[in-house]
């Protein structure tokens, strides 16, 4: 059974529709990517899953309908969202950001060891643990956002353009760590990216969104080989 099953999902911001009834599903343990141009509805898809926008249609997570639940309740079930723009709590320290990530956890005893685990993936965050998070560099804040999401011990991680605004070397490092997290922690991932090459390299499945509709779906290799995708999104 799929971990996440989305069917006929419609999302609107006031009178404006961003998603026109999309359907897709995520296999447990995999990495799926949603590709598409600006305004295709990639971010809206992630927001709709988390209940951050008004939606119609159904979203089943782990066998339960979460489509009308408030965001914090969806998060508590194990959906960690690494938002566009990183969502740093700028005025508290790096470590407090990570603590906030574990806020809804019941097993508070494991939090300390999980924090060490996050520091293991991102040693840079450990060096900056007592620094105000707003003073971290863009790359460090992106790592912090992933670390904060990990502190939830999520079953599913939604990643919204993690490469945005980062230097190529940092991006490479970050995606290598994401791969390790997927393999070692068995966290299912749904990745939204403008950088299609990067995304298809990490993902095993992919969907292509155009103006709020799924137009192509398949394995990452199939999509990468697709003529239209290659020309429009991979640029060769």
């Amino acid at each position: 059974m799929a971990l996440l099953e989305v069917s006929n999902l419609v999302a609107s911001y006031g009178p404006i529709r961003a998603l026109h009834g999309i359907s897709f599903s995520l296999e447990e343990g995999g990495v799926t990517t949603i590709l598409g141009a600006n305004g295709a509805g990639k971010t809206s898809t992630l927001r709709a899953i988390c209940g951050m926008v008004k939606t119609e249609g159904s979203v089943h997570f782990d066998g339960q309908d979460i489509s009308s639940r408030p965001t914090e309740a969806i998060v508590r079930r194990g959906v960690a969202h690494v938002p566009e723009g990183r969502g740093t709590f700028t005025r508290v320290t790096t470590e407090e950001n990570l603590l906030l990530g574990s806020y809804s956890r019941r097993d508070k005893k494991a939090v300390q060891s999980d924090m060490e685990q996050v520091y293991g993936y991102f040693p840079r965050l450990k060096e900056r643990r007592n620094q105000q998070a707003g003073t971290l560099s863009g790359g460090e804040q992106q790592m912090l956002a992933v670390g904060r999401a990990l502190m939830l011990r999520p079953k599913l991680m939604l990643l919204d353009e993690p490469s945005f605004g980062l230097a190529p070397l940092i991006v490479e490092e970050l995606f290598a760590i994401l791969r390790r997290i997927n393999e070692d922690e068995k966290v299912t991932m749904l990745l939204v990216e403008q950088n299609a090459t990067l995304a298809l390299d990490l993902a095993d499945h992919a969907y292509l969104l155009e103006t709020g509709n799924v137009v192509i779906a398949g394995t990452a290799d199939e999509i990468a080989a697709d003529e239209t995708v290659r020309r429009s999104y991979l640029g060769y």
Binding site: C50, M52, P70, T71, E72, V75, R76, A80, H81, P83, G87, T88, F89, T90, R91, V92, E96, L99, L100, G101, Y103, S104, R148, L152
Partner: protein, 290 residues
């Protein structure tokens, strides 16, 4: 010299009240970006509850605690029933509702307990534990109680998970929801706490100014002045600003302007700070990185 010390210490005592109100106002301002004009009337209403309980024969500290519990629940209810539904409404809607709440609490207190002034007891002994002519026993107690309360609030926000979550929810509600914090619940909690802080201030000042529905009018103005002086973005600054206003008010009243112009003094301070240092003494100058 004695007069100066006396006035300063006395100023610290009223400053403690202003500091509490300033803190209550800033706590809500941080969470919803609006100034709660009704904070003073809410505090006055809480004080009346305590007065009623004492009049019914309840011991002071029992009435004190029940009054705090009532204020906490009342604050949460006000948030849930009135402010949650208009959360995204424009600033004018908020102002109108604040004014309405002020008038409602004022009129309601007058309706239930009438407008004649009432004596409110001081919980502190008649004599200081040490010899001094510089500060009265009630003033000494007020400063003590206020410092304990401020200390507890500091510890709560600084060192407890819920306190951290409340700060997170106020600063960045979207991200807070994404780590599983119920922003709604945190807002309610914030209103409850602010109402409690205000209630303590009301019960501490009432023995001095006597209890009546208009008791908090001038006091809230000083609370606002304290909040503005300290900086609306800084709870610690608001507290310092409140104490500062208490002392300045007394010294200015004694040496410069006399007691008639005291209230004007608070307004002058508010205007001066907004003109020359809008972020306040300890406030954060908001710089946006784009």
């Amino acid at each position: 010299m004695d007069l100066f010390l006396q006035q300063t210490l006395d100023g610290l005592a009223t400053g403690a009240i202003y500091a509490s109100l300033a803190l209550a106002v800033v706590m809500i301002y941080q969470a919803i970006d609006h100034f709660n004009f009704a904070q003073g009337e809410m505090a006055m209403f809480s004080t009346f509850i305590a007065w009623q309980l004492i009049a019914w024969g309840m011991p002071y500290w029992a009435a004190f605690l029940i009054c705090l519990a009532f204020s906490f629940i009342g604050g949460m209810l006000i948030e849930r029933v009135i402010f949650a539904p208009i959360h995204d409404a424009p600033v004018l809607s908020h102002i109108v509702i604040f004014i309405a709440l002020t008038l409602i609490f004022n009129a309601l207190a007058g309706f239930v307990w009438d407008f004649t002034i009432k004596e409110f007891p001081s919980p502190f002994p008649d004599k200081l534990p040490f010899e001094s002519t510089l500060i009265g026993p009630h003033e000494f107690g007020v400063v003590g109680i206020t410092l304990v309360m401020l200390g507890l609030i500091y510890v709560f926000f600084r060192f407890t998970p819920v306190g951290l979550a409340m700060r997170a929810a106020a600063a960045n509600p979207v991200s807070a929801a994404l780590v599983g914090i119920s922003v709604k619940r945190m807002l309610g909690l914030g209103w409850g706490l602010a109402a409690v802080v205000g209630a303590v201030a009301g019960m501490m000042i009432a023995p001095k100014v006597y209890l009546e529905p208009n008791m908090m009018l001038g006091i809230l103005l000083y609370g606002f002045a304290g909040a503005v002086v300290g900086g609306l973005t800084s709870p610690g600054g608001a507290v310092v600003g409140g104490f500062l206003m208490g002392v300045l008010e007394n010294l200015a009243g004694t040496y410069i302007i006399g007691s008639e112009l005291k209230l004007t003094f608070a307004l002058v301070v508010i205007v001066a700070v907004l003109l020359f240092k809008p972020a306040g003494l300890f406030g954060r100058v908001v710089v946006m990185r784009v």
